[in-house]
Point group: C2
Chain length 398, copies 2
Amino acid sequence: MEKDFKGLSQFYGDKLLHDVMPFWINHSLDHELGGYFTCLTREGQVFDTDKFLWLQNRELWMFSFLHEHLDAKSEWKDAACLGYNFLKKYGRASDGSWYFSVDRQGNPLIHPYNIFSDCFATMGFSQYAKMTGNDEAMQIAIATFNNILRRQGNPKGIWNKTIPSSRNLVNFSLPMILSNLVLLLKDVLPKDRVDQTVQECVNMVMNIFRDKDRGIIFENVLPNGDHHNSYEGRLINPGHGIESMWFIMDIAHAYGDTELMKQAVDTTISILEFGWDKDYEGIFYFLDEKGYPPLQLEWDQKLWWVHLETLISLSKAYLYTGDERCWEWYKKVHKYAWSHFNDDTFGEWFGYLNRQGNPLTTLKGSKWKGCFHLPRALYQCSITFAMLDKIQTKKNAV
Amino acid sequence: MEKDFKGLSQFYGDKLLHDVMPFWINHSLDHELGGYFTCLTREGQVFDTDKFLWLQNRELWMFSFLHEHLDAKSEWKDAACLGYNFLKKYGRASDGSWYFSVDRQGNPLIHPYNIFSDCFATMGFSQYAKMTGNDEAMQIAIATFNNILRRQGNPKGIWNKTIPSSRNLVNFSLPMILSNLVLLLKDVLPKDRVDQTVQECVNMVMNIFRDKDRGIIFENVLPNGDHHNSYEGRLINPGHGIESMWFIMDIAHAYGDTELMKQAVDTTISILEFGWDKDYEGIFYFLDEKGYPPLQLEWDQKLWWVHLETLISLSKAYLYTGDERCWEWYKKVHKYAWSHFNDDTFGEWFGYLNRQGNPLTTLKGSKWKGCFHLPRALYQCSITFAMLDKIQTKKNAV
């Protein structure tokens, strides 16, 4: 594989514009009742109509984001409006927190036990507000964001089944998502608030959840970052760790912090070395840090988002540092991902492969897979390679 | 495979007495603090010390049951006492409901959100009481049983994340387990109470959860037994359905109900036909009744308990009815199960195979796999084949 950055940028852009976004525009819009269908078969047939707030808000974000950053297509704006109106009306409980799911009509199904519904609502609503200038959308986004910060200490609230005094493990997901969310909100929050939240997130991710000696991220640690020798305490989710590293790289880039950038790049590489399946290729979904059997029966599967987030992290790492290890790894992951996940026949990507690399299910969308990781990664990789191409062209001209 | 019932009975009995029970006696007893270790590697090394109430109570039941029904070994009684004393002291919250898990020392970790902890506590404590004549154990068992019946309408209590008015699906697990539990308690509960509970369970299992046309059991149905076209509503767990059929066969046998027996045998066969993997053999873990992609990423895996419960159901079905379809299926499942799950090197069985039949993890015990399904099935199959042998010998003598 040559360093044809222009070609790579076009390749990602074409897939985004001519395959993936049309797939969601054609199959996922509920023109009748509003919102999106996300449970789609390989061909795009709707097989379930429940509406999961994670995926609804992520799809709203995706259409709005691409409208702002890539192309002000009216079909993307219309698709965003379709989601926004449904979500504004049916997405929240009376206290403003977001349900986990509602049915097709918008009747609530699952209580707001899951704070990530709120995280993605903040993303979706703030981005929609930027696209439309809709002030109500921005007010909802900011109120939701404040709600998240308030709920940080006990995100599951009354639905928390863990006895608080017992073990007190803290989980990686929220600081990880916040480190991305806060940059997405940087235009609308006061600067000192952004700076403070960024600093807290970076500290959590890099000092508390990252094992500095081994360069890997733990999913659950004691509040001071110490490890706990239990299922939860030994759990490694390589995709999570690698995804968080491009959030950190974006922060390091925005703040001009080269030391932080180096740490994020090194961590990306060491998680990849830890998480790569040396027998069948691809990145494992879950591992036990000591090599014990993980509880998760899906531990050895290869998931679409893990590989997409890795492609983003590696391409950004290479753009920001020129570290050749990143290009070497990029080539390896690119080759594996595009030859296994891409569906040549019906478009989009398969989501779930078995360890050997064959689709475990051919669905294109579900309760967890929607219009998010693939188009976001296609966009991110496309612009990253376009920047790499500019640098290369400039170099060649000198 | 010949109809060598005597040989089969011995084969199961030998595995139970000389391999499986010694494995748990040697590796799972926490002599220091009481209770059992259930997280064991392939070789039997303890890799996690948390104590999960499902598995603690099941192991207590297993030792006590075998002591009563197979051999009054003092080591089994001692092992049961070790569990009983720990569980009596640390297993319950102040309202008498059972925690989901406690740590090695007995400090509670996870709230009593899971009513099956209580079901297995009822089993364990009542069987322990029978073995020892300990009245306190029996009082705790009966109080727990009454608690289960009281909580039936909302088993997850305050930890229920579903909005009750929304969809109102009822789940199969509780009526299924109760149909077994009530027979185990028949000596200690008033007869009319037993009869009434049996009747209710049979009605739920055979009329509400069983699809009479297709002969398969649904995991979640509307209260009148109608199907709901959603992930939950389409979910089939073949192992669950087949396991419940031997509970129903035992009821049909105890009450001399030949029509119910025939239904249970037919249902066993039709679930097997539905759930059998025609490409790689073995029984799938989860399926969607319409063939859509199941949500469960582990759907195509082959689990130890599914195959063991199937061996019990088929051997009992053959004993009770002589239906040759059951013997044909028995041979097929026996061959698959013993050639894939049995660990010739370190004893016991592997728990989790991938679709192709190779161990996905080599653990012998975990948060979910303990001293229960394997020894119970070995015992059940051993006595069932002994009875078949008696019948055969009698026939041959005539």
